[in-house]
């Protein structure tokens, strides 16, 4: 009755995921085991409830937004490919990138793509701008009931003021990149995957 999860993943799939994400063979099988153990419905895809079942994620103030990132527009199920693609953003940036020859543009874990992932945590309506409201929403998620509307509003205004260069009272992606140019994004948005 043991879970032979790795046998459900075909070699061709593993190779494709390897090319697309840059994960190693053993990392992919290990993450597939994890995917399989989270998939309580055993239907080959994860729902939002499957993620919510992880207690440490459920108490994370930004838990819902992080979970959202795994679900493509309007969909309720995350398959393994999508799961890996999202996780790939958090691969550390190594010096000798094995997949430097990716013809499909930048690797998923490049600095720009990591920043884009973070940008999308704020930009819920995907209009490529973080409005004051969107910023306030994320702030409210992080502070709960502990800070007043006025104070939160002034924090949001200050943040937009510092970042906004073209005066449209919103933060575009390029403004976002600029304001974070001194931040070590590679370290803050990478996690260690066991081999």
């Amino acid at each position: 009755m043991g879970s032979r999860a790795s046998s459900l993943l075909r070699e061709e799939d593993i190779e494709e995921i390897k090319k697309e994400t840059g994960f190693s063979h053993s990392q992919i099988t290990r993450l597939y085991s994890r995917f399989h153990s989270l998939d309580k419905g055993e239907n080959g895809a994860l729902s939002r409830e499957d993620f919510q079942r992880i207690p440490e994620l459920a108490i994370n103030p930004l838990g819902d937004r992080i979970i959202n990132a795994f679900f493509p527009e309007g969909e309720d199920q995350a398959n393994f490919r999508g799961f890996m693609r999202t996780l790939a953003h958090f691969r550390p940036v190594e010096d000798n990138e094995k997949n430097k020859d990716l013809t499909s543009g930048e690797p998923l874990n490049s600095r720009t793509n990591k920043l884009l992932f973070a940008f999308r945590l704020y930009d819920l309506d995907r209009d490529d701008k973080i409005s004051r409201d969107e910023l306030l929403q994320v702030l409210r998620m992080m502070v709960g009931v502990n800070i007043s509307d006025e104070q939160l509003g002034s924090i949001a205004d200050r943040t937009i003021q510092e970042a906004d260069t073209n005066g449209d009272m919103c933060i575009s992606f390029s403004e976002f990149i600029k304001v974070l140019e001194k931040v070590d994004v590679e370290q803050k948005m990478s996690i260690r995957f066991l081999h």
């Binding site: 790795s6 994620l57 930004l62 709960g144 800070i147 104070q151 931040v183 803050k188 995957f193």
Partner: protein, 424 residues
């Protein structure tokens, strides 16, 4: 046809006498003929078990924000990064959900059920594995089932007989004898090898014994070396028969399902039991559910509010010989017992820890945590504050609110007054 039945009957009688003579009787008297020891030695050589050093690791995982070191007072957009990174780390691996499935082994122990990530199996290994299957299913399993049946029947019959006697010292002594011999037979029925440490700290009458919970077998392991009053819900069926006969020979604490909901009634019954110094120490598993023996999860404070002396016990199974964890979501009781009886053996260490009592100024929760840490430390298990009930239930919202409060106080800095009184 007649002849075949006769032969079968004779063989059965021979089989039964061998089992009784060589296993049941020595077990009842606590004598070891050494078979199990030899068996374990052979197993060890075959599986090439290396003694592993149990690392003592203690995590405090409620504090997600403990990693923000360079946090300055003001909000910056990269604050979200921290929560994001933690979230993704927890999606890849978290401290809680892994406690509700069996522990992963470093090297394969020739049981199909543990063969998850070991992909390449040589021909030689397959042959040994096949031999293992034959030994486990055709030789060990029938033997173990016979022993289990003998053990349980003896428990029911013995306790019923003892129950007929009037209350006296002789009755208590006989009751203890019946219980211990039955559990010893059951332990043989699982090829259990138990190493006891610090026997001088064994629980005494009028006390409460608490232990970490991995499976129903914990009871057999504990009761092999002492007599306890069991606590639990009244069941129907075979369990009910066993429960009713046990309570005839000495007092155990069985609750109806409806009684369990009334915490005061439960506490009262337990208090009354331990107040009577002639009654056996109560055995309680404060985690409330089975955990996979890699960690100790939150102890429910109920047992620590009653008063009395707590005798902590740490139980650590060696997973190389057989996984004792009962994953009740995956296996029901019967299939779980079958798995136990077709494992190689159950090998475990049991430490009796010095007795503890609640100190002044310590509330039940703090006391419970103190006992939990002592058990985790001794058994080499991870000490977690998470509730084992998370196996089935959702986590409480209040934990998220704690995170939010902590973060708020960081970004608002020294102006705590304003932060705490802010209306929404």
């Amino acid at each position: 046809m007649e002849g075949a039945w006769e032969i079968a009957f004779v063989l059965f009688q021979v089989w039964l006498s061998i089992v009784v003579g060589l296993i049941v009787l020595p077990a009842m008297f606590g004598v070891s003929l050494g078979f199990t020891d030899i068996y374990i030695k052979v197993l060890v050589k075959t599986l090439e078990v290396k003694a592993f050093l149990l690392c003592l690791v203690s995590f405090q995982i409620h504090n997600v924000l403990s990693g923000i070191i360079e946090k300055d007072d003001d909000f910056t957009m990269c604050d979200a990064f921290y929560f994001c990174k933690k979230g993704i780390e927890n999606i890849v691996e978290d401290q809680v959900t892994q406690r509700f499935t069996s522990e992963e082994l470093a090297s394969w122990n020739l049981l199909t059920r543990t063969n998850n990530n070991f992909r390449y199996i040589s021909v030689r290994l397959t042959i040994i594995w096949g031999l293992g299957v034959f030994i486990r299913y055709c030789i060990l399993l029938p033997l173990r089932i016979t022993l289990a049946v003998i053990g349980l029947s003896w428990l029911v019959i013995g306790t019923t007989l003892v129950g007929l006697l009037p209350s006296s010292n002789a009755k208590n002594w006989l009751s203890d004898l019946v219980h211990i011999t039955c559990y010893r037979i059951c332990a043989r029925g699982l090829s259990a090898t138990i190493r006891y440490h610090n026997k001088e700290n064994r629980p005494k009458k009028g006390g409460i014994c608490v232990a970490n919970h991995t499976s129903p077998i914990d009871i057999v392991i504990l009761a092999n070396d002492g007599c306890y009053a069991m606590v639990g819900q009244v069941h129907g069926g075979l369990m009910g028969v066993i429960q009713r006969s046990m309570v005839r020979s000495c007092p155990h604490v069985w609750f109806e399902r409806s009684e369990m909901k009334d915490r005061h009634a439960v506490a009262k019954r337990l208090k009354d039991h331990i107040a009577d110094k002639t009654k056996l120490p109560i055995l309680i598993f404060p985690e409330g559910t089975c955990i996979n023996n890699t960690s100790v999860m939150m102890f429910k404070k109920g047992s620590f509010e009653i008063g009395g002396t707590i005798y902590p016990v740490a139980i650590k199974y060696d997973p190389q010989f057989g996984d004792a964890f009962w994953n009740s979501a995956k296996n029901n009781m019967v299939s779980y017992l079958l798995r136990m009886m077709t494992s190689w053996a159950i090998v475990c260490n049991m430490w009796y820890l010095p007795p503890m009592t609640r100190q002044d100024g310590e509330d039940a929760v703090q006391f419970a945590n103190r006992v939990k840490s002592a058990i985790a430390h001794q058994g080499g298990l991870v000490d977690l504050s998470w509730d084992g009930g998370l196996k089935r239930e959702k986590v409480k919202e209040s934990f998220k609110e704690e995170q939010q409060k902590m973060y708020s106080s960081m970004i608002v800095g020294l102006d705590c007054h304003e932060a705490s009184e802010g209306p929404v």
